[in-house]
Symmetry: C2
């Protein structure tokens, strides 16, 4: 089934909100085997809703339209579709009763303008209940093709998709699915990864491979078209194994896990504990570690040592070393890692110190210079990094490489 | 000037990444007076890049295309445009020299595939430097209309827009601008804000008002159409004053500053210092504080006290209180705030303890229960909150309310 998305909303065009519905629908439709080639954003304008709907119907079997079903005067998606397919909208008292029930449930007063939401198509139209909002969805048949209209509020749209729309699509999409798996790589740039995998990737037609670069992380997505989920899994596994063999330990995650999830799994498996001493990352590494539910099993705590006082007083970093080598140095990173490990009595200590910028650089210490150290019974290890970007990007990159260094230490037997 | 956006990338269609570039460009083009009616997302497919570019050129004067300028085989936006406008791409040694300079700067090896990025149009084409990446942008004239192609990596695109593209557009866009200002509110829900402002908002036609809710933050955007920037500023200021009078101290920012920027300004102004003790937020509050350049002037550091041991050992939280009231309690939040303030010798101490979930709740302490305390010479103040949402949402909401509590304490004379 070939599908197409239309997002209606001037606020989307003007960039006042980010279109997260696009990602949600894109991901799920791919999973359901709908081929998506086009996706458009248009404002709340009758003519453009009409034209875009007609163009979409001319080249796709399934047109999903979100937004513009609200009660206010600028919500005119219903009218736009009516004009596009030349079909009449009629007031439906049963739909009105559902809308009233919703307002009673949430204890809001219903207003005259909400009557507009009870208009549906007289023929070829299935009304989709909205359990968490007032605007119902519509499934409209047009000469053997389909338009699905849903509210733009993500919470309402997602609920409607899960309850009604996705099961409806699954029934009609027939045979064949698309399935993806994501391997994540740290420690190599995007073009280095692409280059290393070139001879694996080039001859492939199914599955296919796509790369996506984030700060100090490259996702390698393997996408297979197959008759069913098991077949897709088998096709993907063959390619994933080849990639894993080629990139070795640089692959940190084989099924889209985050770096912090991977570290959590390793620490839980080894029954080991962690403490962190952060300077330039300012708490970001600890924040990421504690995004994982159950992290209290291995994470004891951190010291965010932003000032030199805190470094020497709490982490026992030598004041003369601070003076001699500076706070941004390999030796201070190591002392931070050892210090926090001892202070919080853990198996691993992770220390990060650097210059996140844009101010604070000196002739020999540029913005982006970061030292990361891991202390454990196995060994004490420190490394120097130079990151590019804005302050928050440098923090993000440093947090990623700190976690990756820790991961590699955890893997040492 | 009528503009149109085309985003090229199968990963966008498949929902593997969220299209934040759309919001960035939408917002800025509106500000520059470009009328945006259409925005499309298509995959990395030659035929569809060609068709969409031709359709866009037929109805808009300015077509901005992002993505698909990378070095790998699936990056074919250049070729798609070439086919659409029937114009030849040629290898440009000067562009190649810039690409090589970039790779030298970041100390990466240049690969044969990067040569592809040095192909530009033979005629009617201005090459736009990319100071933070390898792919240059292109400004292409086509029969008095314009195509602008930029890389899809947000950091590279934004830099290119600021340095070259926006000034270029400003020159050509001519008269009339749209300008916005964002007031941010904390401590009131979206509908409460909308209700309170109803009599201000309803009669307005220019400026207009839009609301946007984020976790524990409501943005009120005032948008004016005017002949020039000064006129727009004056029109916006009148409405902003009315809103400020109505919502009082719940307005924490009057020009789109983040909560952490506002707190930084207050601490710098008062020459005061801050230390933080975090449990359930796991470092997120400190991370946000240190996102601000210059935060080392007021932020001494934090203790992330994830285990009870750390709470009692480092922050001097009473072990018997931990036993009697539990770690998630008003008294422990207060002791954390006081403890970290004393430990790091600061003017303010901020303490946060709670249950981020999804596990860890008890019959009398549900997921989302959070206690926040601020300690200072003025007073010691603790409050109970109940937040809804996933683990990371609860962390985010708790961090926001912690910073807002701190802000309100900072405002006390």
């Amino acid at each position: 089934m070939r599908g197409e998305l239309i997002f209606v909303g001037t606020e989307l065009l003007l960039g006042q909100i980010v279109n997260t519905n696009a990602a949600y629908l894109g991901e799920n439709l791919a999973r359901l085997g709908v081929d998506l080639y086009y996706s458009s954003v248009i404002g709340d304008n009758l003519e453009r809703i009409k034209n875009t709907t007609q163009t979409a119907l001319s080249r796709s079997e399934l047109v999903i339209i979100t937004g513009g079903l609200g009660p206010t005067f600028d919500d005119i998606t219903r009218e736009g579709i009516a004009t596009a397919i030349n079909r009449e909208l009629v007031y439906d008292p049963e739909v009105m009763a559902q809308i009233e029930a919703h307002f009673n449930r949430v204890k809001y007063n219903i207003l005259p303008m909400h009557r507009r939401q009870a208009y549906v198509f007289k023929t070829g139209c299935q009304v989709v209940p909205n359990p968490v909002g007032s605007a119902p969805g519509l499934i409209i048949e047009v000469d053997g093709k389909w338009i699905i209209a849903m509210p733009g509020v993500p919470r309402e749209m997602e609920r409607m998709c899960n309850d009604t729309i996705f099961p409806w699509i699954t029934k009609r999409a027939g045979k064949g699915i698309i399935k993806s798996r994501v391997l994540k790589v740290c420690g190599m740039g995007e073009s280095t990864v692409a280059d290393a995998l070139n001879e694996i990737v080039e001859p492939l037609t199914n599955p296919t491979i796509a790369f996506l670069a984030r700060p100090n992380e490259v996702s390698v997505r393997i996408t297979a078209k197959a008759n069913d989920s098991d077949e897709a899994d088998r096709m993907i596994a063959v390619v994933a194994d080849q990639i894993r063999t080629k990139l070795e330990d640089n692959v940190f995650s084989e099924d889209n896990q985050t770096m912090e999830e991977v570290i959590g799994c390793l620490l839980v498996k080894n029954l080991e504990t962690l403490a962190i001493a952060e300077s330039c990352t300012g708490g970001l590494v600890s924040d990421r570690i504690t995004d994982i539910s159950g992290s209290s099993r291995y994470f004891q705590g951190s010291v965010i040592a932003y000032s030199n006082n805190v470094k020497s007083q709490l982490l026992n970093v030598s004041e003369s070393d601070l003076e001699q080598y500076g706070a941004v140095s390999s030796t201070v990173a190591l002392q931070m890692a050892k210090g926090v490990r001892k202070l919080l009595n853990t198996d691993y200590g992770l220390g990060i110190t650097g210059i996140a910028g844009p101010t604070g650089e000196t002739p020999d210490k540029p913005v982006g210079l970061v030292y990361i150290a891991v202390a454990s019974d196995k060994r004490n290890n420190a490394r120097e990094f130079r990151f590019l970007g804005e302050r928050t990007t440098i923090k993000r990159r440093a947090s990623q490489m700190a976690l990756d260094m820790l991961r590699r230490e955890l893997l040492i037997k």
